[in-house]
Amino acid sequence: MSNAEEIVKIIEEVIGTKIHNYSINPFNHGLDSLGVLKLVTIVEDKLGIEIDDNDLTVENMSSVNSILSMVNKYANE
């Protein structure tokens, strides 16, 4: 499973909804503040990375694509 697939699977688990379109805003599909913290902590554990809390912004969380871009920045370091 690729990193992107892994991350999308985690997002699906956190919001409890299957994702068919990466441009959707997860906040409109059940993601909340606690969900964001769960999401990034589980992603960190799975990928062995450490995401700076300053990157947990509305912009970086505004679509599945933007979450993938933000995480990939760390995964490719």
């Binding site: 805003n25 906040f27 409109n28 599909h29 059940g30 909340d32 503040s33 606690l34 964001v36 913290l37 769960k38 990034v40 902590t41 809390d53 947990l56 509305v58 969380m61 505004s62």
Partner: protein, 314 residues
């Protein structure tokens, strides 16, 4: 997350508010509150709640504001929709509620008399008969030991510090005796008070429960101790204002051992607040200032008495 345009259109459609502008006034991670200015010169606060909250409990809580107003309490009430008796609208999986805005600033600890008067007046009317079905402090404490076990799970910073308060926390729970005659506010920190025209008003009744009014007094005392400190450190020099506040609340007829009781109920409050974070501690610990706040709760739970707690700040 809904857009401002959606919010402005919905406030007009469902509440008849013609909006000039909207400002974010409070942001806790991704949850926001807004200050709304309307063309008729009024101001309102829009609060949003996740849809995971029980709508039945929220409806009861929003209705409670109006009951308090009928009983003479100065309070900013939630508006009802034009098309129904409901208070809320649903926007993108969030409940939004519009509250009347109370102008003013947060009171300082030197306004302890006004703060004491506010709490006295509120507790004077807030009997448990006002709300038929509410969780109590006792019920929260009954589940606290089981919930505390969640702190053992996973790896997170300050795990050892939290686990170290287990024995004290259990003792506090075991020593609690049922006293649930009042609908306590449950979060009477200075941030939840507004000084308006020399009168202090309470806001944010999201944590109401049946309990003993002294819990709210103790909670305010705790707020006096750390207010203004970003790291939730105790200010030792505030003991005088704290004692003056307690005397003012009890009108100089304080019950026996009042400081001992205040300290105990402060610990009760800290147990309930600590336990609230147990199930998701690994994630919540990342919230800004959360670590410092939880360590403060642990310090209070482990403290011997009010004076010793105040001296820890030295």
């Amino acid at each position: 997350m809904f857009t401002w345009q959606q919010l402005i259109e919905s406030l007009n459609k469902y509440y008849g508010l013609k909006i000039i502008d909207v400002k974010i006034i409070d942001r806790l991670m991704f949850r926001q509150s807004f200050l709304v200015n309307t063309f008729d010169g009024n101001q309102y606060i829009v609060k949003d709640y996740a849809e995971t909250f029980s709508l039945k409990e929220l409806f009861q809580m929003w209705g409670y504001y109006w009951k308090l107003r009928e009983l003479g309490i100065s309070i900013g009430c939630p508006l009802r929709r034009l098309d129904s008796d409901e208070f809320h609208i649903s926007l993108e999986n969030r409940y939004c509620v519009v509250f009347e805005y109370i102008k003013g600033n947060r009171p300082s600890i030197n306004q302890y008399k006004e703060i004491a008067n506010c709490l006295k007046k509120y507790h004077g009317v807030a009997t448990s008969k006002l709300l038929p079905d509410l969780i109590s402090t006792e019920e929260k404490l009954n589940s606290a030991k089981d919930l505390f076990l969640n702190f053992n799970n996973g790896s997170y910073s300050i795990k050892q510090e939290i686990l170290s308060c287990k024995e004290n926390l259990y003792n506090i729970i075991d020593n609690y005796s049922n006293s649930n005659q009042t609908v306590i506010h449950g979060d009477t920190i200075l941030e939840n008070m507004i000084l308006n025209d020399e009168e202090v008003c309470l806001i944010d009744f999201d944590t109401i429960r049946y309990g003993d009014s002294i819990e709210d007094v103790a909670n305010t005392v705790l707020s006096f101790m750390y207010s203004g400190s970003k790291k939730f450190e105790v200010h030792p020099g505030r003991l005088q204002q704290i004692k003056a506040f307690i005397n003012s609340y009890y009108e100089n007829t304080s019950p026996t051992d009042i400081e001992k009781k205040i300290h105990y109920y402060m610990q009760v409050h800290c147990v309930i607040d600590l336990i609230r974070h147990a199930e998701n501690i690994r994630f919540l610990i990342r919230m800004p200032s959360m670590k410092e706040y939880l360590l403060m709760l642990v310090r209070v739970i482990c403290s011997k008495n009010l004076n010793a707690l105040m001296q820890e700040g030295d």
